[in-house]
Symmetry: C2
Subunit: 208 residues, 2 copies
């Protein structure tokens, strides 16, 4: 009651305006976060929270399908940050400031009650790609590529320097379907390209 009384004496339209502004700010704070990554002294700080971003697809290229010498002998769970996903749904383009994470997961099992196949095992690494005019003014498509995986894949580094452009971008430039991203293998991105709300799944009876 003491507080209520104090408030009632000092209240005015500016206070209301401030509260409304504050509320709007709180509501949209996450949506308005410009970027979901931090680059400091040329190094990308290891991103956090990406398992709560939007998942787009998982390729698996196991050793036993590549003569025991797969270049990427794991499942790759791929995520895009939520603001870039919102932009993709709206426009069908990767915004400046997009970050895509690739979490590496070992082949854990090849047989289950559901049949023979490839089942996900343990986390063994983490990679990222970023589209940024500011940080990558001279890279093709403004994309840069990073890995936080240690050589023996038993830990993650705190920061990562970008790979030399050619080591990643040669494949991405020649083979990726959409702006250096392999959307042909990511059904969530492919179906969601510029489709608005429907991109999030289940809104129509057609399969898209």
């Amino acid at each position: 009651m003491q507080i209520k009384k104090a408030m009632s004496t000092s209240i005015n339209s500016n206070t209301i305006a401030s509260l409304v502004f504050l509320s709007a700010g709180l509501l949209s704070a996450n949506a308005n976060a410009e970027e979901f990554f931090t680059i400091k002294d040329g190094e990308l700080q290891r991103p956090t929270g990406y398992r709560e971003w939007v998942y787009v697809g998982t390729p698996v290229t196991p050793n036993d399908m590549n003569n025991g010498k797969a270049a990427f002998p794991e499942h790759h769970n791929v995520y895009i940050d939520p603001k870039s996903w919102a932009h993709w749904k709206e426009t069908g383009e990767f915004r400046d400031g997009t970050i895509i994470m690739k979490e590496l997961v070992s082949v854990g099992s090849k047989a289950a009650v559901s049949g023979n196949g490839y089942f996900q095992g343990e986390f063994i690494g983490l990679e990222a790609t970023i589209k940024s005019k500011k940080h990558n003014p001279n890279e093709p498509g403004n994309w840069s590529y990073y890995s936080f995986s240690t050589p023996d894949h038993d830990a993650l580094t705190e920061v990562a320097k970008p790979f030399p452009a050619a080591s990643c971008n040669a494949c991405h430039q020649s083979a990726a379907a959409d702006d250096f991203v392999f959307t042909q293998y990511y059904p969530v991105l492919r179906a969601g390209k510029g489709t608005g709300e429907e991109a999030a799944g289940g809104f129509t009876s057609t399969l898209k």
Copy 2:
């Protein structure tokens, strides 16, 4: 200015209290949504927006690894609703009201610049499982199972009746690692069981 003046004359502490309450309500509306599904006349309405929930893992059990007759000849992208994910992170348990979605994706390609493997093609179906004492009082673990896939996998139904318990739960009861859920194949759930913030990825240098 007209509006501001009108506001300043009628403002009082109750108005402020209402605005603050409204703001708090808006901020927590999503977090407080009790369930992410609707069951009407015993049928589950097709859920929407699940591609923006939390992804937990993808098994693939293709025909060519199962004598051409796989029981589930696709990739299965599996998601959990955000409130049940929050509960899982906090407690390591599936809350009453959990919904887990399984989006079926065809094998789209078996070779890419990254090597031979299994790459995701097109969406071909949608399934769900729900843990609910209210709706499934007599089912093992209170789980029920649904499919929105049409027989030829070229569309989705609007609603789904639950499968007879035995048709799904026999395998889930005997082989699933944690409360009828195959967490052994879902690294995000396994790593995130009761681990709080760390469950979302990237917070520590250890791989979990």
